[in-house]
Structures are given as C-alpha cells and as structure tokens.
Symmetry: C2
Subunit: 447 residues, 2 copies
C-alpha cells in the first residue's frame, strides 16, 4: 500500500484519437465513420512507488475534447486526496463526484458528465489494484463482500436490490471461488467476435472473416444490421452459410428502429436464426424493449452499451425487457456503478454479455466479467464478452485471446494503461500523426 | 425575411455565471448552492438586418465551461448555413445536430451534448421568429399544422404518436384560435410561484413571501422538501397556515428519494394537502414514478425539468406515471423536441406545467405554453407555468407578471436575449464581477 501521507498531485488529461474511420473498421448503421478515441487521464501521486492510475472515456471522435473538459471539471475533487484513502474506498470519491451539487445539473448521472465520472473512478480502481499488486478482477474477487457492498450506491435501485440482498449474493458467490479461479486461469472467459460483421465490409470479406472466427475457436459472431433490409438478408444469409447452423449469430441494429420497425425487421431476419437482436431501438426506451422482446421471441433482446446508468438497467430488468445485459466499462460511473449493475443482473438472473471493442473497452470489461464468474454468479453459461481485434497494440497490458476465450490478465491494475508513445502520436490535434495529417488537409480541420 | 444569400458568419459563445449561491436563492434538497449560469451563444449573420439568434443552456455553476465546449463542438454544423433556409426549416438543422455520427456517442440525446443542441436549436428559432417579426408563441401559433409536423422528429415515439395523429391534433387545435389569442393578450397565462419555498429560507421569510404571493394574485405556491421530514412538516404547516386551505401548495423533492421513501414521505405530508409531489425520485425512473403515483394518490406526481428527452416523456405517459408534465425549454433538444413533447402530452391528455426559474427559463418557456393554449390544447385548465423572480433584469425582453399571470410577450423572438452589459459583467472568469471577486478570494478559484 502507498505511504499514508501520499497525495494525488496531478490529474493529467489527453485527447487521443485514432483514424479508424478511414478503414471502415467499426462502421454500423448509426455510426458510419467512427474515429475511436479516448478522453484519457492519469492520476499521478507523490508516493514514490512509480504507480499511476489510468482511466478513460471512450468516444468515437468529434466531441472528445468536450469529454476531456468534463474530466477536467472533476479535477478539484481528486487533487490533493490521500492515495491510501482513495484506494481503500473508491466509493467515497464516486459518491462525491456524482453528488457534486453543481455538476449534477449536467446529468444527472448520464451523458458526458457521467462518463467523465466513470473515467476518473476507473482510474482510481486501476491505482488501487496496482497498489494491491493484483489484476482488478482478482482484487475484486478477493475483496470482503461487506466491503464490496459498501462500494455500491443503492440510491434509486433499493426497490429492486437492497444492501442485504447484495451481501447475500456476494457471500453466496464466494463458495467454490478457488476452483473457479483455477478454471479461469486455465481456460479464460468465453468471447464472441464482431470483427466479421461491420456494415462497411464486402460479402467476400464477411465470409472470410466469419470462417476465420470459426477457425479461431469462437462459437458466436455478430453482424451489424439496420441500414437496408435487403442488404441485411443477403449478409445474414452469407454469414450463416459461412459458419453453418451451430454457431450463434447475433445481429446488432445500433438503435436504428422504432418499436414497430424493430419487430418487423427482426422477424424478417428470423430464417437465419439470429441469437439476439442488439440495440433494436433507443437505449432509453425500457417499455419499447419490453414490447419488442414480447414480439420477437425466441430471438433474444440485448442492450446496454448506451444505457446511461443503473437506474435504466434496473427498469430493463424489472420490466422483463432484456434477455442479455450488455455491460460497458466506460459508459456508466465506473467500477462502483458496474458492481451495482452486475448485482442487479445476478438478482434478476439475466446473463451479462459485455459490450467491448472501440479502444480499450475489451481491456477494461474483461475484469468485470471475470470477477462475476469467480465471485458473484459463478457461471459463464450463456455469457460471452464481445471481442474486436482493433487497437490493442496501444496498451501496455493488451487483452489476449486464445481459442475464443479471453485469457485472465495477470498484471496488476485494470489493463487501462496506454503506451506512452501511442499517447504522444495520437494526441489530437498536436500529436505526430494528427499534426502531419492536418498539415496535409488544412481545409478539413474540424473546429 | 433575410436576404436569400445571407449566411451564419459567427457562433459566439459566452460562459455567464451569476453568484446566486450567496443568497441561498434557489436552494433545495439536492442543489444547496446553485450559481445560476448560462452557456450562451449568439448566431451572427451577414444579412445586414441587425438580427441575431440568441440561445443558451441553463446550468447551476461549475461545469458551465463544459457546456460551452459542447456548444462549440456544434459550431461546424451552423457556420456558413443559409439564414433563410435555417429560418424556414429549423428541423433540418435539429436532425443534423442529433444525428452527427460521432457526437451522438456522447449522448445519445441526453446530458451535456443534448442540452447544447437545445441551445443552438433555440437560437435558430429566436432568429426565425425575429425575422418573422413575431414573438415565438405567435410564430408557432400562426404556423401551418403540416409544417409544424415536419418540425417534429418521430423517431422513437411513433409507437405513441404518429405524424397523422400529430397533424390531427394541430389541425383541431387551430379552431377558435383568434378568440384564445385575444384572451391570452388580455389576461395572460396562469403562473405559480416557487419564491417562498426555497429550503434555505427562514419560517418568517417563508410566511411573508407566501402571503405576498397571495397578495400578488397567485393561486398556487411551491415548497422545496426532502432534506428533513420534521423540517418539512413544520414548513408545510407554516405555509398552509399562511395561505389558507384554498391555495394549491405543491411540494418538490428534487430527486432526493428512493421509491419507498418517496411514498412514505409524501404520505407523511398528506395532512397539508399537497397538490403535487415534484421530482420524488430519479428523473430516469419511469417505473418508479408509476409506483409512486399509484401509492400517493390523490396527491399528483409531477416531473420533467431533468427528463432528458421525448423518449422518456413518452414512457412516463405510456406508463401512467405522471399527472403533470413539467416541460423545460433548455433541457431537451430545443423547440423541435418540445413540440414533440407538447404533442405527446396532448395525445395522452396530461396537463403541461412547465419548469422555469433559474436564469432565462421563464423567458423561454412561456412561449411554449402560450402556443399550446392558442393552437394546440386550447385550454389553461390545471395548467400553470412556474415563476421565480430571479435575474429577469438581465434580459432585453423580460417576463412580465400581472395578477399571477405571465403577460404575453409582444416583442419578436424567443425573449432569449441577454443585455450586453450583463454578459460582459458576469462572464466567467474574466467579466468585471468575477474578475473582482476572484481577485479578492484567490484561494477559492475553481480549476
């Protein structure tokens, strides 16, 4: 643990953008041209142990500077704080950030300001796990259940999950933990891959990547849909032909539809046996998802990557609106709120299949699923973490996939730390990549 | 109308903050120390007619700079646009802003980025109404119903309101319009006042202000509650004694409670005959509001000032979760989205009683209620606009209250324009007020 007197002496921020739109990686019906980006922060301390807390909000390009500004607005809450107190109790900081009496107006608990809170809170957990010398999944799995309960904000969810119920779930979840940890270290955690299915890819590329996914040991793939029904039917047929009948094939509409359209379109794809329909409509529409789910069964309904906080997840579960909960590590208020969401999912018996991809999301979210397996639900049945093979090379401790499974990270922390040279090169607009790029295309400099 | 060739040549932004926290004006259980602020913009054109479009997001202090950054992120969508095209069809810009394929990730349609869209869209409506030489309420009431329908984004609400249904509501709403316009001009639109009820006020001040409200012709007041039940009981008793049994007395918890707490606390105040309980819990909790409403009747349930968009309002109406819809002019995506919300409320027969106060919110929202009366629902029964007597002196065309009613504005535009000298003085941190203030208290400069 850090020296008792050590303080946070800097909260450094970076606007990091990768030019992914140029290869159509990540293209879908709602997001045709993402430049995967991170509003990134580093907590520096005077502990003298060389440890830093790294965290980030994921965005897809324009507006990343707004996200950085939001992180900077939180700086006064963190600067000067005791490192040992932060690491011993990230929940107190989490509550202080969410409860800031003026910043709260900008949400509350949603959008830019809430994602900024998530970035800062996650950086603290990265630091805490590093100080403990453990990967975050293990740091959480080794933690005392009562302490984990103390890290959860039950405001607005107590009608669905009480602290006592959470404690019971976590206490029960510990039984057999050592055996599951051994399984995790040996086999990893199941993954599925979205790499074949981006909208911008040709049918030939789709077929090739789908067959590659099979060869790589994945048992589930995902296709983007929602722009054009005839195209979707052709692409689903192509993918199904490539992978055969036994592989799960999810489809993802990225919020393109109204409720009625979602029902019609999903039914029209039914002959290809889609496993789930993801983001059929607005992530805010609890009742809409419930109506869609009732109409498209046995196709499952999945959402979560844009669900703003635990309050909306609570309702999706209360209303029986989803079959699959897609946790995201960087959308909500960080590890503390994701503990609440994992507990809610466990309480309602709904499997969590995290959203990942982008930049760094795979690195982060694997820890949460692995904790869930080792010390909460105790199962990986019907659970898979999304995997996309983009941009991992920029991380010090990148995810490792073997035979369709995430390997359990062994390095201390949250796997959130980007390589210094990547930060330098892709900082916007002054890093080496962008400076050269913008010099070549002066007429296209965004404001 | 502006010359056909005229373009938007500048989108100037200002970070304007008023030090209201020092007088405890605006103090409530969740917001103890607001500094009412505006992330403000001015659209300037080369039309040569001297007209500008003014708009703003309302915030309560810290983070106003984040809100300004979000408005600036939208600048490329507006700069260079044809003024006549913008004014003839603000809906096209509104859709472009909401649909920005990268900025969308930062919401979608919620929080900082969505409020920024609202500010820009409202500035366009201000300019359009000025160009037409009409106050906005009249500009809307005179508009062709089919054109108004074209201004609404039905995405995600078509399961509750179709374009055809909207057209029917607006067409029917026009009947008798001239007579209602005459009534509006003669009598104004009913208001209620929150001025007596801020948490930070003494009982003596509460009594004095409540009696003053009666003398001023108001028939409804509102008290902040939710910090301490014994205090609330004493304050409700004091206020009820001051105003007698015939005045409506609403109470407002500003999201302090869980569902169960909201039910218990509201019932505990029942003997004082509260008219509505406002913001009993998270604005995101549709199902929670429905449960509270079922349990606290005949006390009505009201919410809206923090409801992020039309999708959540749709569900509040579908679930029968609210008796009163509290429209806010600056929280959602501007006039276009507020048209959708007014139409949804009309469709479900739920009265709209707008949230106002802060800085400039009264000036804006009166136009929307007046349009609703003249050309949509045709009634003011059980409808009142909140009124708070703060900061109106900073506006060129401030609201005017007479005998408990908002007078109908007569000046062209959206009444959004702040006095230049106020902008100069209260710009943060360099305006005259803040420069002097921060010089006196250098240790308290926020980051």
């Amino acid at each position: 643990m850090p020296a008792a007197a050590a303080r946070v002496i800097a909260v450094d921020t970076y606007d990091i953008r990768f030019p992914t739109s140029r290869s159509l990686d990540g293209s879908d019906a709602m997001n045709p041209d993402p430049d995967y980006s991170a509003a990134y922060l580093v907590l520096r301390t005077d502990a003298g142990d060389g440890l830093e807390g790294h965290g980030f909000s994921f965005t897809i390009g324009r507006g990343n500077e707004v996200q950085v500004a939001a992180i900077e607005a939180l700086r006064p809450h963190v600067l000067g704080r005791s490192v040992s107190e932060l690491c011993a109790d990230p929940g107190t900081l989490s509550r202080a950030l969410i409860g800031d009496s003026q910043l709260r107006w900008l949400g509350p608990e949603k959008g830019v300001m809430h994602m900024a809170i998530g970035a800062v809170v996650n950086a603290v957990w990265d630091l805490a796990a590093k100080a403990a010398g453990k990967p975050l999944w293990q740091f959480l799995a080794d933690a005392d259940p009562a302490w984990l309960v103390s890290q959860v904000d039950f405001r607005y969810i107590a009608d669905a999950l009480t602290p006592d119920e959470a404690l019971e779930l976590l206490t029960r979840g510990r039984a057999g933990r050592a055996a599951r940890e051994a399984v995790l270290r040996a086999e990893g955690y199941p993954a599925y891959t979205t790499s074949p299915g981006w909208l911008g890819y040709s049918d030939e590329k789709l077929t090739r990547l789908a067959q590659q996914a099979l060869a790589d040991g994945f048992t589930q793939i995902k296709l983007k849909v929602g722009a054009d029904l005839a195209d979707d039917i052709r692409r689903c047929r192509t993918a199904r032909a490539a992978v055969g009948p036994d592989i799960r094939m999810a489809v993802d509409a990225n919020q393109r539809w109204n409720v009625d359209e979602a029902i019609r379109w999903t039914r029209a794809l039914g002959e290809f046996d889609p496993y789930w329909i993801e983001e059929p409509t607005s992530p805010d529409d609890v009742l809409g998802h419930a109506a869609i789910r009732a109409a498209v069964a046995p196709v499952k309904v999945a959402t979560g990557e844009h669900v703003q906080n635990r309050v909306v997840f609570k309702q999706l579960l209360q209303a029986g609106a989803i079959d699959v909960l897609q946790l995201d590590a960087a959308r909500v208020g960080g590890v503390n709120e994701n503990l609440a969401i994992l507990l809610l999912a466990a309480r309602f018996g709904v499997p969590v299949c995290p959203h990942a991809g982008g930049v760094g999301l795979c690195e982060l979210v694997q820890h949460l699923s692995m904790f869930d397996f080792v010390a909460l639900t105790g199962t990986t049945e019907d659970r898979v973490i999304e995997y996309v093979d983009h941009l991992h090379e920029h991380f010090l401790d990148p995810v490792e996939i073997r035979r369709g499974h995430y390997r359990a990270p062994t390095g201390p922390g949250f796997s959130a730390q980007m390589r210094p040279e990547s930060i330098l090169q892709y900082s916007y607009p002054d890093g080496a990549f962008w400076a050269a790029d913008l010099r070549d295309q002066p007429q296209e400099i965004p404001a």
